[in-house]
Subunit: 267 residues, 4 copies
């Protein structure tokens, strides 16, 4: 290292001629074959090695978020692979770029919302169901008064019950990592009929946000975990596109039904 040059601290990876180190450990001797991929992903993001129970909940979340069929994300990835078959990294990146606010926002928005309510509530946290219900009711009323919707409540398709939600909650309890975010989230679901006048199911992607927050993963990163999960789903779509291609059909179905209509001029 030369004097006067900037230095770049990192707690992640470094290597020399004989050793590759990652997170302060010897990659080959300590990590490979001994640490799972999900476990490593958690560890890389939190720079804290998760317990077995935390890993199980974390991987359950990733599995829940990995693939949702022909999302705009998956379609864009497949179209990009069709156009640029030589660059699988381009197709994967194009797919991930759709991981924004509209379809991948729930996980992050829910985690943040829960976190804000809990932080504002201060100490001590609610200890009983009634206390959680009170906090939830207050939060719902505030959102309603300011005409803002509540992240994590409701789902466009699963209008009664999102099948993913009870599984996340059960596993969190089983693994002893059920915490304030999940508690508040359940309370929001209980109080919604009374405060909002509607029964709204607890959104499965939303409960994932609550779970990640209870795993004490940073809220600014919640969307990143959804993206990691989605990367696995996209790889599945790209693999399928290589074997049973549909992107050309999608392209042609749009192109064939294009109809020229003079636009309204802007300005």
């Amino acid at each position: 290292m030369t004097a006067g040059q900037p230095q770049y601290p990192t707690g992640l990876g470094t290597s020399d001629a004989t050793t590759i180190r990652l997170l302060g450990h010897d990659l080959a001797n300590d990590l490979m074959g001994q640490v799972g991929f999900g476990e490593l992903a958690f560890w890389l993001a939190a720079q804290r090695r998760p317990s077995a129970g935390e890993v199980r909940l974390f991987e359950t979340v990733l599995v829940a978020l990995a693939d949702h069929g022909f999302t705009p994300t998956a379609i864009a990835a497949r179209l990009t692979l069709l156009s640029a078959p030589e660059s699988i990294q381009g197709a994967m990146a194009a797919g991930l770029l759709g991981g924004g606010s509209r379809f991948l926002g729930v996980t992050e928005d829910t985690g943040r919302f829960l976190d804000e309510v809990i932080t504002a509530a201060g100490d001590p946290l609610p200890a009983t169901t009634e206390e959680w219900d009170a906090l939830a009711g207050k939060a719902l009323a505030e959102r309603k008064a300011t005409k803002r919707f509540v992240p994590g409540l409701g789902h466009p398709v699963h209008k009664e019950r999102d099948p993913r939600t009870p599984v996340i909650i059960r596993i969190a309890r089983e693994e002893g990592v059920y915490g304030p975010h999940l508690a508040l989230f359940e309370a929001l679901g209980r109080m919604a009929p009374e405060i909002l006048g509607r029964t709204l199911p607890l959104n499965g992607a939303g409960v994932c946000g609550a779970a990640l927050a209870d795993l004490r993963l940073p809220t600014e990163l919640l969307r990143g975990f959804a993206l990691l999960a989605r990367a696995a789903g996209l790889l599945g779509h790209l693999a399928e596109e290589l074997r049973r291609p549909i992107a050309a059909d999608i392209y042609h179905s749009v192109d064939r039904n294009a109809r020229y209509v003079a636009g309204d001029a802007v300005g």
Copy 2:
């Protein structure tokens, strides 16, 4: 479904109001909490559920490839997060776009090369070390004669021995998934001194390609698995950038040392 409309077959995900199905299974009841994330990633890509041994080798490969410190990929991701902090999907995509031939090509190139040699050799495959050595020697001689380098042999830093390689080989044997690609790869390493006149270590990213090929994952997808692994590494870098930012320092170190020099005109 409307008559006359194209239909889009998929073996991945579908859902209705009450159920989310993935790979023909009920996501909530059969997969979440019961299938690991690495296992699911394999299953999504191969549309075949891997055995426990296959999962172990697969996750070892992903762990081996997840992060290599301040690669151009990681630097680009961090610079993008600095410039567009509101879009973590942009930063992750920018990082993955560097996952191309120069730094992420070895895994894929090695897998493909081994596959070509094995396919060209036809049946029956070599059965003894001597037979593998003969096939390897022949392949090396052909590459040498046509002045092409051999993917997977050598490493710019680990000039004696890449520490990741023996671990991959050991785990493949332990899990009973050691196959022709790994066998050929080891033979190439044994024969290199004789045919190429140099000792070349078996590259760790290359042995990952051999392992993925022995897991019977498609060669066109090998880079995709490296990208999935790298997505976890990038998330770690982005997490670290949020806590201990260095991207602005990198930017300034370049900008401050820029020097105007008239370019050679092209054309």
Copy 3:
């Protein structure tokens, strides 16, 4: 077109076996060689053909925004080309992904801010310098009271005067397209010392936002024009990287100065 299928209206491009039409015109006979690239870009975005004066101001804006040296954007693009030289579209995309709020936000933020103030002021618009100053003073005072900074005022480097600003204003006047956004922007500059207690130069990227708004281009698209301009700049960087590469030096300067420091665990 099949009955029951969705139809996709577009005012942009369609083609058949003998003709390619764009914006309702015959591309080959009416547009090629007769419409400039900047003119076409405006026309495609606004679906309205700009006058010669509008084109001149528009192209001046694009020229102003095309390149700012070794921005994080340019560095990321060059690093990506280094890593994936086979995909120039990946390198360009990676560069554009840095076109987010921090470095490319001023143009859009300024345009939006000016538009909000003008819209809120209603009819009739100010007609004299004094009236514009009054509106500007009021807007500045409101921002100050709510502790929000004013987009477009100030610059980290050009602390006295941004050299691009007077040129944009002059050309807008010359071409008869100087309008309310530019008028308000100049008034903000005049009133800043009095209301904010500081002299703040009118930011060059900000005045570009005012100019684009006075060209009646949609505010949601302002960043898109900056990205189009930046695409030309990035192409210049990629061309230069191919001839006089520096990305490997940047990569090594970071990698060489990496220092392992255990991270603060999160959570």
Copy 4:
């Protein structure tokens, strides 16, 4: 600049507190309002200021390549804007990532092919139509013998004549920039019936590659110019999507017609 630090030479942009310089010129005083956007794009890429005639041909090429309706590229960009409306740079990047070999390759492949034939032919270049025909005939015969197709000949839609081609050729002649690549390209078209046994129209995107090569722009960059052109087209699509959205319809038309079919397991 600190001793021992790397230095980064650039012929593009630098700036200090009072001046912004680009390509060795004062941006505000010498370039803005005096240099067109297309002209600047050429200059940035070639680091050579083009003549007026070169600019006209160059901009004609960009106009020819800017938009082709609902390409997979445009569809992917629109789907990404739907999913991540907060990131126009993500939508534009996703669209550009489709600018790969299959739909954007012709321009580059044709330019490279012509360049290889011309380079191999050596000096002196053909001077008469007959000599060009002879060189073209030879090149076609070689491609035919090695069963490789000829870039730039033929078009999936415009089977008789691509309407863009004669315009490019005419403008190149008008501006005095018609050169060996265009001459060879026309000769290939004349000789195709005799050598290949088929009449193949000269592809419009292919003639753009010939024109860019005759403008002495580097062949490794040809796809980059197509991408710059396409960036303008994509901005038009994103603008139209904001006003007359269709991406949700495209998404639903795929999602609604998804049909679960167990995949063939791979491996």
